[in-house]
């Protein structure tokens, strides 16, 4: 029973989700929304487990003075400061909680995102080295695509036409082929889970 009941829940839940896609009845919509609400509720409870996991791992690193354990102090301090500020001074705009969010967290996040530009450059440098025929084709294609954003006088029109063809024909064909494969793989994976063939997510005692 320990295995059968969870498998039955997965089977019925998966079957319902598949069937409801084809049934537009109001009852079907309502049960679907009810199921989505449950996902949110489970997520909220799971957040407690997540925070406990983070707390335990951070404390263990501080106790053992693992490499860079100082960062764990900052992590825990950040966690408790935000919780306390949220609880006792509110989370409205203008309160310390939101000020910390807007003036510390958001700029740090923007900085991380901005690093992407440099990483794109370094990854492109490696990817576009013309070592083989295929890499050379990739390089030439990339040059055409990048130059379409730059005014090049009389050859701009031609370059735009070629770039547009690359994007809408071979590129689109490849993307759609990948998307179709993903669709099939997704259904196969879902079936394996629904039918109980794939059950590694259930763990062991």
């Amino acid at each position: 029973m320990r295995w059968q009941i969870p498998l039955l829940i997965v089977f019925l839940g998966g079957l319902f989700m598949a069937v409801q896609y084809f049934v537009p009845l109001e009852a079907s919509e309502r049960v679907y929304e009810y199921a989505l609400d449950w996902i949110i509720i489970v997520g909220v409870f799971a957040m407690g487990l997540g925070l406990w996991s983070m707390f335990r791992v951070s404390v263990a690193k501080i106790q053992t003075k693992a490499p860079a354990w100082g960062f764990n102090i900052i992590t825990l301090a950040g966690l408790f400061i935000m919780i306390l500020l949220g609880l006792f001074s509110g989370i409205e705009e203008g309160k310390p909680f939101m000020s910390l969010f807007w003036y510390i967290y958001t700029p740090i996040q923007a900085t991380m995102f901005a690093l992407l530009a440099f990483y794109v450059a370094s990854a492109a440098y490696r990817a576009f080295r013309a070592r083989t025929l295929v890499a050379t084709i990739l390089l030439l294609t990339a040059v055409v695509i990048m130059l379409r954003l730059i005014p090049l006088g009389s050859i701009s029109g031609f370059n735009q036409t070629v770039a547009s063809w690359i994007l809408t024909v071979p590129n689109m064909a490849a993307k759609r082929a990948i998307a179709m494969g993903i669709g099939l793989g997704g259904i196969a994976t879902a079936l394996k889970v629904i039918l109980g063939i794939e059950r590694s997510y259930m763990g062991k005692d």
């Binding site: 084809f22 799971a46 407690g48 990483y119 793989g185 079936l191 039918l195 763990g203």
Partner: protein, 415 residues
């Protein structure tokens, strides 16, 4: 001086009147020369002809809170006096009184879907299974006329969305393939599935980490437990955990979703049990970091550089963080294997990691790694599904080229 001024004052309006006539004539003649139809000037009291044949019936493929209204255009819409501006759709539950405006559409439109909310407290609540009467009011400049009242109609929900018939058939056929090949595999029939280099590299990468005595980092991405990419990644994690347990190599799994955390812990634990080394499992090897995208990236990047992970495996749902993670791993000198079902992130992984599982290969990976014949059956079904799609594409292209609409319509999806 005074007389002169009076004359000027009379001349000005006459001049303006003549000038406006001249401009109007010029506009009309030039428009006629250009072939643009010019609306005949009409009296504002002259109402356009009413719309005819107003029919109301239940809207198809919906939840039972909409009615489709159709009508025949007014004789003055685009013809006759050519004076129609718009149509107003009116509804009442009494054929003789109480009509209220439900919508407005432009001239030339012949249908309107009266769609409402299913919530009783909503202002736009539309009760289902109740008779309603409709009429259509045609509006002209300052005047209007109304159609006859339609026959009563009620809104009902449907049991099957006919616009999704082709999806339904494709799903049934593919499900049949999956079940059939899994049954074949169960009966011991040997199934050939093509090798995927990225999956072969997983064993090699785990071996390398073992030799170097460094940990393996497994990233599940930012997807939730409901994403298929994450589910596929969790099954791969189970296989990777089994191998790391066999080799006694440390495994680190930082997670960005609390629900995924609990499932990932179970998947890793199961891997250690399957390898016969339950004592090797450490609960803290799978840990929650944060659900915030770039905060997660900064933690994982720091982890890679501090721990000098020998192998980084990225499997699951990734967004902008894909390149930030993979480039840092590259700087750290780790062997990197990636796989995602996010098409936009695949080029970044191809550029920055050593092996990439593209799209569906992510879903196939767990079966390959487990080498379980039953799971390989699903991969075989995927290959057959692709053959069917290729046949459909060729058939659809030929049908569209030769205007065989009945074949094209078989593939059409109306959501």
């Amino acid at each position: 001086m005074k007389n002169k001024f009076v004359i000027r004052n009379k001349v000005l309006p006459i001049f303006l009147l003549l000038f406006s006539f001249f401009l109007f004539g010029l506009h009309t003649s030039s428009a006629q020369e250009m072939g643009i139809p010019v609306a005949a000037p009409i009296s504002s009291a002259e109402a356009p002809a009413p719309p005819m044949n107003v029919v109301a019936k239940d809207a198809p493929n919906d939840n039972g809170h909409a009615i489709m209204v159709t009508w025949k255009l007014s004789a003055d819409d685009g013809a006759g006096k050519n004076s129609v501006i718009a149509y107003e759709i009116l509804r009442s539950d009494n054929p003789d009184a109480g009509f209220e405006v439900r919508g407005l559409v432009a001239a030339g439109t012949k249908q309107y879907q009266d769609k409402g909310s299913r919530e009783r407290e909503d202002k736009n609540y539309f009760p289902g299974q109740k008779n309603f009467y409709y009429k259509v009011r045609v509006k002209s400049d300052g005047t209007f006329s109304e159609s006859e009242v339609s026959a009563p109609a009620s809104a009902y929900g449907q049991w099957f969305h006919t616009g999704k018939t082709s999806i339904f058939i494709a799903t049934v056929v593919f499900t049949f393939f999956v079940v059939m090949f899994i049954n074949w595999a169960r009966k011991g029939r040997k199934l050939y599935v093509r090798p995927i280099s990225g999956i072969d590299a997983v064993d090699e990468a785990i071996g390398r980490a073992t030799e170097m005595g460094r940990p393996i980092l497994y990233i599940l991405g930012l997807g939730s437990a409901g994403d298929l990419g994450t589910i596929a990644s969790l099954t791969i994690l189970n296989r990777v955990a089994k191998k790391t347990a066999e080799y006694q190599t440390p495994l680190l799994v930082p997670v960005a979703d609390a629900v995924v955390l609990t499932v990932a812990q179970e998947a890793v634990k199961a891997g250690y049990y399957e390898a016969g080394r339950p004592e090797g499992y450490k609960e803290d090897s799978v840990f929650f970091v944060t659900s915030m995208q770039f905060a997660y990236v900064s933690h994982v990047n720091g982890l890679m550089l501090r721990e000098k992970t020998a192998t980084n495996i990225y499997m699951g749902v990734f967004y902008a963080e894909s390149l930030l993670l993979a480039e840092t791993g590259n700087v750290a000198g780790s062997i990197q294997i990636s796989g995602t079902d996010q098409v936009a992130q695949i080029p970044f992984f191809v550029a920055a990691t050593d092996y990439t599982l593209i799209g569906e290969e992510l879903y196939a990976a767990s079966a390959y790694l487990g080498k379980e014949p039953v799971l390989l059956g699903a991969i075989k079904a995927q290959d057959w599904g692709k053959i069917l799609i290729m046949i459909s594409l060729i058939l659809g292209t030929l049908a569209a080229s030769f205007h065989l609409d009945f074949i094209v319509n078989l593939f059409r999806i109306k959501l």
